[in-house]
């Protein structure tokens, strides 16, 4: 008799915990870069994501954050750990395309959802697309395409273009040329991680360029701009947002003033979601949010919107709920194209100074409701 009661109690307890676990809980594994050179981007992605989760106050969302140190092997180990022992339902957070390539295909093959807060390599947008992989940020080429379109519309006829010699750099110049389509004064690939651009600046001076487009993320862009400003050259500069984002503008200083850059987000986009985000982010962390923070914030809100409509254990329903993208994006209009990459406006921003802080303001729209060039290649 005693034994029977005990068993019954045990069964009841098991049922209770099982139903608890079933109660729309979603466990998110966030792998991002929190130490070393590129930590600023990962920290902003994380802070934006956590802020959205905090504001939503949804107890069903559980988040584990780990540092990939910008190393693909560590990212893979962390993903394995999160899938095998932490039993996460959704992975997110990776900043760099090479790390995303190492983690995303394996994670989606194991039936996990991956929501990208930043990295969106073309390999995962075209033939390598997957129904469980969503890029909330953009497709990697998007901002470069917008820069190309802007340069063409602004009437420049001989831009000099440069990018580092690695896949994202080559994609960048390809994207720029796709929508610019005109004549170039020069096209130069620099070394990845290069910090001295004296040689390239001399080449620009010797060419008859009427403008410059460059994609040099992080410290590379800071170095280039400072040296460019010091060279006495005075051509208009255009680039994607990466070298002019909130996190690094203060380090570039006056050299960045007036530079035009393309972005799908800025703090002055006029909608209620964005106003709340910018205000709450500053209140929580004491600094202005960056593009990466905005992308992290949107990713979390997309996930929360899907959680309201479907249970993560029902993968098909959850997938459709994600695909519907019914959340208030800080970017305004946001929807997914057939290959799960955003359809969104991309703006032209100008670097300005507000008081003592360097920041951006939107001056134009480069592309409206822009999708990406890889939709056709994706069969899913």
């Amino acid at each position: 008799m005693k034994m029977k009661t005990l068993l019954a109690a045990g069964c009841a307890a098991m049922l209770a915990t099982a139903s608890l676990a079933d109660d729309h809980k979603v466990k998110v594994g966030m792998i991002t870069t929190l130490s070393g050179g590129g930590a600023g981007l990962g920290i902003d992605s994380r802070d934006g994501f956590l802020l959205a989760a905090k504001l939503a106050g949804n107890d069903a969302l559980e988040i584990v954050v780990e540092d990939d140190q910008r190393k693909p092997d560590i990212a893979v180990q962390l993903a394995d750990k999160m899938i095998q022992s932490e039993k996460v339902d959704v992975l997110t957070g990776i900043v760099w395309s090479n790390l995303a390539m190492a983690v995303v295909p394996a994670a989606t093959a194991q039936g996990k959802f991956y929501l990208s807060t930043n990295a969106a390599p073309s390999m995962l947008a075209g033939k390598g697309c997957n129904p469980n992989y969503f890029s909330v940020s953009y497709q990697n080429d998007n901002l470069h395409e917008a820069a190309g379109a802007y340069v063409k519309n602004a009437g420049y006829s001989k831009p000099f273009i440069l990018a580092p010699n690695y896949p994202a750099g080559q994609d960048s110049l390809t994207g720029f040329k796709r929508l610019y389509g005109g004549e170039l004064a020069g096209e130069v690939y620099t070394k990845l991680g290069q910090t001295d651009y004296a040689a390239e600046i001399a080449q620009i001076r010797a060419s008859d360029a009427d403008s410059i487009f460059f994609f040099l993320p992080g410290g590379m862009g800071i170095s280039f701009l400072k040296q460019y400003a010091d060279s006495g050259l005075d051509l208009p500069v255009v680039g994607p947002a990466f070298s002019f984002d909130q996190g690094i503008l203060q380090a570039v200083g006056d050299a960045a003033m007036g530079v035009k850059n393309t972005s799908q987000w800025n703090k002055d986009i006029d909608n209620a979601a964005n106003a709340t985000f910018v205000e709450e982010f500053q209140k929580e962390y004491g600094r202005l949010p960056s593009l990466y923070a905005a992308q992290g914030y949107d990713t979390a809100n997309l996930l929360l919107s899907a959680m309201e409509k479907a249970d993560v254990s029902d993968a098909d329903a959850f997938r459709s709920a994600l695909k519907a993208a019914e959340f208030d994006s800080v970017r305004g209009d946001f929807s997914f194209a057939a290959n799960n990459h955003p359809i969104q406006d991309i703006y032209v921003r100008e670097v300005i100074k507000e008081g003592e802080v360097y920041t951006n303001k939107i001056i134009d729209t480069a592309l409206e409701d822009h999708s990406n060039a890889y939709v056709e290649d994706c069969n899913m």
């Binding site: 930590a39 600023g40 010699n165 001295d196 004296a198 001399a202 410290g219 400072k226 380090a251």
Partner: protein, 306 residues
């Protein structure tokens, strides 16, 4: 390509080489005198740059910033020598590599903890910014010219220090026979601390001077460190003269290679492919140069002499 562009690139190569020399000089002194492989040398470069950025931010003076870089890097160097490096002289190189690699991580994360993850701002002072016009109509940034001159003056000072002063005699003696000079009453452990701090100060100065035109951020020292190792392998370990010649060779090869190779490839390839292939090959050039020197002179150009 115009002659002006070529001359400008030679100047760029010289400037790059001179900065590499400041890094390599400390590395080669420490390796030559103490037989120690110091992977954390790049961290001292970073310490110099961060100290300069912090002081420039607080005082607005570039000269004070440079002094701060020198002092902070020398102090960090001396501290590291007293606390960690001192225990490693008798160990083999593998232990030294491991311990100094750990120091890189400690310095990087320590700096991130103290200054945050975002790059810092260090700008040129007004009197050093902007271009000057050289004979022949070449426009060249004044600051880069200043770097070349400063680097060459420091190189001359180092030669004088090594060959003409008492400290230099001790350093050279310590290099050949450390037991003997210890027996002659020279405080060898103090000498080592001084040499280490001197090398650190040079790296810190380079970090601050380069930081003003590049980015001041965590991990900025490591790429330079690799090049500095290439320089001392080419120049010959322990030789200041070798470090100078090696640094200038690497600087010029790297800069001119990056300019000329894509041009050469454009003669028989489509522009986009040529610039990508050319720059890929150009980034290998200094290692090809190193391999060539090692085949011809396995000890490096000035190896085995000081």
């Amino acid at each position: 390509m115009t002659p002006i562009l070529f001359i400008e690139q030679v100047l760029n190569g010289l400037q790059f080489g001179v900065m590499l020399f400041l890094m390599a000089a400390g590395l080669t002194l420490v390796f030559g005198v103490m037989g120690l492989i110091n992977l954390a040398h790049g961290s001292l470069y970073m310490v110099g740059a961060f100290a300069a950025a912090a002081v420039a931010g607080a005082t607005g003076s570039f000269l004070l910033a440079l002094m701060a870089a020198l002092t902070a890097a020398a102090a960090a160097g001396a501290l590291v020598e007293l606390v960690v490096i001192r225990r490693l002289y008798a160990r083999d190189h593998l232990d030294q590599v491991l311990a100094t690699f750990a120091l890189i991580l400690i310095f990087s994360e320590g700096t991130r903890w103290a200054f945050g993850s975002f790059p810092l701002f260090l700008d040129l002072p007004g009197y050093l910014s902007g271009p000057v016009t050289l004979p022949g109509g070449i426009e060249y940034p004044l600051y880069r010219l200043t770097l070349i001159v400063t680097g060459l003056v420091i190189a001359a000072g180092l030669f004088w220090l090594i060959s003409g002063t008492r400290l230099g005699i001790r350093i050279r003696a310590g290099e050949s026979d450390r037991e003997m000079i210890a027996a002659l009453g020279v405080d060898i452990s103090k000498l080592y601390t001084v040499v280490f701090a001197l090398g650190a100060a040079l790296a810190g100065l380079a970090g601050a001077m380069v930081g003003a035109i590049q980015s001041v951020q965590v991990g900025m020292g490591e790429p330079v460190l690799i090049l500095a190792f290439v320089v001392i392998v080419i120049g010959g370990i322990g030789s200041i003269k070798g470090a100078l010649v090696g640094a200038l060779l690497v600087g010029l090869t790297d800069t001119l290679g990056g300019l000329l190779l894509p041009e050469v490839f454009k003669l028989f390839m489509e522009t986009s492919a040529a610039s990508s292939t050319g720059s890929a090959l150009a980034s290998m050039l200094i290692y090809i140069l190193m391999a060539g020197v090692l085949i011809w002179k396995p000890q490096g150009l000035f190896g085995g002499q000081t």
